[in-house]
């Protein structure tokens, strides 16, 4: 019953006319599906980095305005998720990991999902402007536009470097949080931007290594699909080697104290070890893992913990020091 929309929207047809009560039934989308459009799991990392941007920024901000700024970052990220699900509904239907999303599963027609996303995007930018300042609202608008137009619509289906450049969209929240407090952009938030930017490829390609059949089925040119697993492992190691020195910059430039410096060094060493294991994973001549990509799975999990702890250490350092 609930698949009535899948036939008419995912395939892009629209000619079929199911019985009207089926349409009415399917139109009553579950609240959970509206929430799923916002990609809550992705949102948690965005909210966290945005909050860190607010906490480490110099100066004071009223807690109500700080809360509003973080809320706007979260809603903006959710809007990106909804618009992404609208645009990618055809390839989402082809991938096991995404085929149960509200649109490809037929629980929601695409139009309302797009409207929901655009409304949230506009509301988040407007509220950010009202509550904080034009710089924060402008960077938020830029990040939403970058994710939707540059990553989702342009890069994702065209180049294996999609998540490298598109990763910039996920790196904006710390800058937005900082700008919400100070009304400007300074070197430290740009370093935080760089940390998330160089962290993203290792994080996503670790996932792509063991989910590449999904991407291949959908025709998404992720690096393991286009260049193979061996090259992907090499690139993961390369980005880890760039990330670790970049993560030490806040300490080296005196933006943070020893707590952050020690955390960055220890976590960075762990990151290098986990990516080294990915590189040295037992594999056949074609590069296919003989361990069911256990090191890549471990590296993916570690990368999430890495970013959370690293940024938390920065906040602790700034608040205590």
């Amino acid at each position: 019953m609930n698949t009535s929309f899948a036939e008419t929207t995912v395939a892009g047809g629209g000619e079929q006319s199911p019985p009207s009560h089926s349409v009415a039934f399917a139109n009553e989308t579950e609240l959970a599906d509206w929430i799923a459009l916002l990609k809550p799991r992705v949102m948690s990392l965005v909210v966290f980095t945005g909050l860190i941007g607010v906490l480490v920024a110099p100066g004071a901000i009223n807690p109500v305005l700080a809360f509003t700024a973080v809320l706007c970052i979260a809603v903006g990220a959710g809007a990106c998720g909804a618009i992404n699900m609208w645009y990618d509904r055809d390839i989402d239907a082809l991938m096991r990991r995404t085929r149960n999303r509200p649109i490809p599963a037929g629980r929601m027609p695409p139009g309302p999902a797009l409207g929901f996303g655009i409304t949230l995007a506009a509301a988040s930018v407007l509220l950010m402007f009202i509550a904080t300042n034009a710089v924060a609202a402008g960077v938020l608008a830029l990040s939403i536009g970058f994710y939707v137009f540059v990553y989702t619509m342009w890069l994702k289906r065209r180049t294996p470097q999609n998540i490298v450049i598109g990763g910039a969209a996920g790196a904006f929240p710390a800058v937005i949080g900082w700008a919400a407090v100070t009304g400007s952009v300074a070197p430290l938030p740009l370093v935080l931007f760089a940390i998330v930017f160089f962290w993203t490829p290792a994080h996503f390609w670790s996932l792509a290594l063991y989910a590449n059949s999904d991407y291949a089925a959908a025709g998404v040119p992720m690096l393991p699909v286009v260049a193979g697993a061996k090259e992907t492992r090499r690139q993961i190691m390369l980005y880890a080697l760039i990330l670790v020195p970049v993560s030490l910059v806040p300490w080296a430039m005196g933006f943070s104290g020893p707590v952050y410096g020690a955390a960055a060094a220890v976590l960075g060493a762990g990151f290098l070890v986990s990516t080294w294991r990915v590189l040295r994973d037992r594999q056949d001549a074609a590069g296919s893992s003989l361990t069911n990509d256990a090191p890549a799975r471990a590296a993916f999990r570690y990368s999430i913990a890495y970013l959370f702890i690293l940024f938390a250490a920065l906040a602790v350092d700034r608040l205590v020091g």
Partner: protein, 70 residues
């Protein structure tokens, strides 16, 4: 094409979903109203001059003083 009435169980499901969505919408609207109220109070506290209303004439801080005659 004539409409086929939905079965009772489907109708109940529609109402259940609609009720859940409406409750969520009420909560979101109430939270938004509270948020806008709180933002207004904070802004008022930060820029009291902008919101001063005087019954005795225009807000003195909002009116530029004319230069004194020699």
């Amino acid at each position: 094409m004539t409409d086929v009435p939905p079965p009772a169980s489907e109708s109940q499901e529609i109402w259940r979903r609609r009720r859940g969505r409406n409750r969520a919408l009420i909560l979101v609207l109430a939270a938004l109203a509270a948020l806008f109220f709180a933002i207004s109070i904070v802004k008022l506290a930060q820029h009291p001059d902008l919101f001063t209303i005087s019954l005795d004439g225009p807000n003195p801080s909002a009116v530029q003083k004319a230069p004194a005659k020699p």
